[in-house]
Amino acid sequence: MAMLTVKDLKVNYGMIQAIKGVSFEVEEGEVIALIGANGAGKTTILHTVTGLLKAVSGEITFDGHNLLKTPAHKIVSLGMAHVPEGRRIFQELSVYDNLMLGAYTRKDKAGIAETLETVYTRFPRLQERKKQIAGTLSGGEQQMLAMGRALMSKPRIILMDEPSMGLSPLFVSEIFDIIEKISKSGTTVLLVEQNAKKALSIADRAYVLETGSIVMSGKASELMNDPSVKKAYLGEA
């Protein structure tokens, strides 16, 4: 059975149907990309998976747990971390305090210290700036902090919502390198991106979302060569 299964998910904002029956699966160890234009419903799906939004109907199962019946604050201790769109770091707290909040549900002090070391190794900039107030970091550094904060919970799956949004090309490459490394270290990744080219280049499989429905899915390498994907999402004729 897949690690994460979403089945016929429907989500509304008031009367407006934003997600119209979406199904997908994430197997342990995979990098799954969920691509789609602005407004397609990518963020809505991730928010529903981690309990920030309520579904109208459908099923979300993670490791045998029914996530639609799990309150948002209990998701992270199941082993699922969410790097939200727009980073949502705690702007007024220090880099270090942000990272420690990522480990909020953990009680093993030695283990937390160990994870902190691995996060600092992965993001040396965060270690250099650990006392700095998070709101004063650059956009790319804030994205690193959001990812580091999520890693502090030692998740088995990490959901990332547009990690490359608003970053300079140099930072974009760096962020995607790091996502690959996170995946290689054994963490499953569900990556939501508008930057389809980059996302497909590191994903195993991908789903294409259009106005609340999945219109295509398959191996990332195949989707990359699909004429309609090329035209609509990769900016190629």
Binding site: R88, F90, L93, D97
Partner: protein, 291 residues
């Protein structure tokens, strides 16, 4: 000498305002709402202690402890019943509800104890302290000492404990806090409990300093504490402290040297002036709220 003693009187009253302002500011910072019933919690605290002392003959320490517990529980219950269902409602609906809760508490007190004020025998065992010609009442000394102690403990609690860091996270971004595994409902509940517990202490100190209690004692006091919180920068804990003390001193000096009748007008005048010059208060930050 007269000036110094008026100044100390201002510190005394200001400390009480500061303790109440802390509750206003914590609840605003974390739940983003103005709990206008907060002032009336001091009245509930004072009456609880009064009943424990006069009817149950309890030792003062036990009575105060019960007052704190009763108010903390009351704060949590009010939040759960009256405010929690309105968390996504318009601020106006919340404000009207809070005013309703305030009148409710006053009416219940009036129903049980009558509308007349009753005298309250100070429970502070310390006599007046004399420094040369200057005499400082035991009540003033204890009120200021307790306020400073609470301020230190609260700062340590927020910056050094896990529950404190959860409060800071919730005050900034509730959804992100949930993603960290923080139970936002419980954090808000804890905030109401702490704020209301502090209000109970303020109520007892008020009763000891003024020597009486009544169903409406929290009304004007609460409004002034709210002014103090806004003056200091609502949402800021040191701001509540500074705002409270400043307000107490301004009030006391204007009563002594300008006019007793005008003192409240002067207090509100200062508020308006500060808000014109610094809309977010003395220590307040203007920050954009996230959804």
């Amino acid at each position: 000498m007269e000036f110094i003693s008026q100044f100390i009187n201002g510190l005394n009253v200001g400390s009480i305002y500061a303790l109440i302002a802390l509750g206003y500011t914590m609840v605003y910072g974390i739940a983003k709402m103005l709990n206008f019933a907060h002032g009336d919690i001091i009245m509930v605290g004072a009456y609880t202690v009064y009943v424990c002392l006069s009817s149950a003959n309890m030792p003062a320490f036990a009575a105060v402890l019960i007052g704190i517990v009763v108010c903390s529980l009351l704060g949590m219950v009010i939040e759960k019943i009256a405010y929690k269902p309105l968390r996504k409602a318009s601020p106006l609906a919340v404000l009207i509800t809070a005013i309703g809760v305030s009148y409710f508490l006053q009416s219940v007190a009036q129903l049980i104890f009558g509308s007349r004020e009753v005298s309250f025998q100070s429970i502070i065992p310390l006599g007046a302290v004399s420094i040369g010609e200057l005499k400082i009442s035991g009540e003033a000394v204890v009120t200021m000492a307790v306020t400073i102690l609470i301020m230190i403990l609260l700062t340590l609690f927020i910056n050094k404990t896990k529950a404190g860091s959860a409060m800071l996270a919730v005050s900034e971004d509730k959804a992100a806090a949930e993603l960290m595994g923080i139970n936002v409902n419980r954090t808000i509940s804890l905030t109401f409990a702490i704020g209301s517990g502090l209000a109970a202490i303020a109520g007892v100190l008020y009763a000891c300093s003024y020597g009486f209690i009544g169903p409406y004692m929290g009304s004007m006091t609460g409004i002034k504490a709210f002014v103090a919180a806004v003056l200091g920068g609502i949402g800021s804990i040191p701001g509540a402290m500074i705002g409270g003390i400043l307000l107490g001193i301004i009030e006391s000096l204007s009563k002594a040297y300008i006019s007793t009748r005008l003192s409240d007008a002067i207090v509100f005048g200062v508020l308006i002036l500060v808000l014109v010059l610094r809309p977010s208060g003395i220590l307040g930050k203007s920050r954009t709220e996230k959804v």
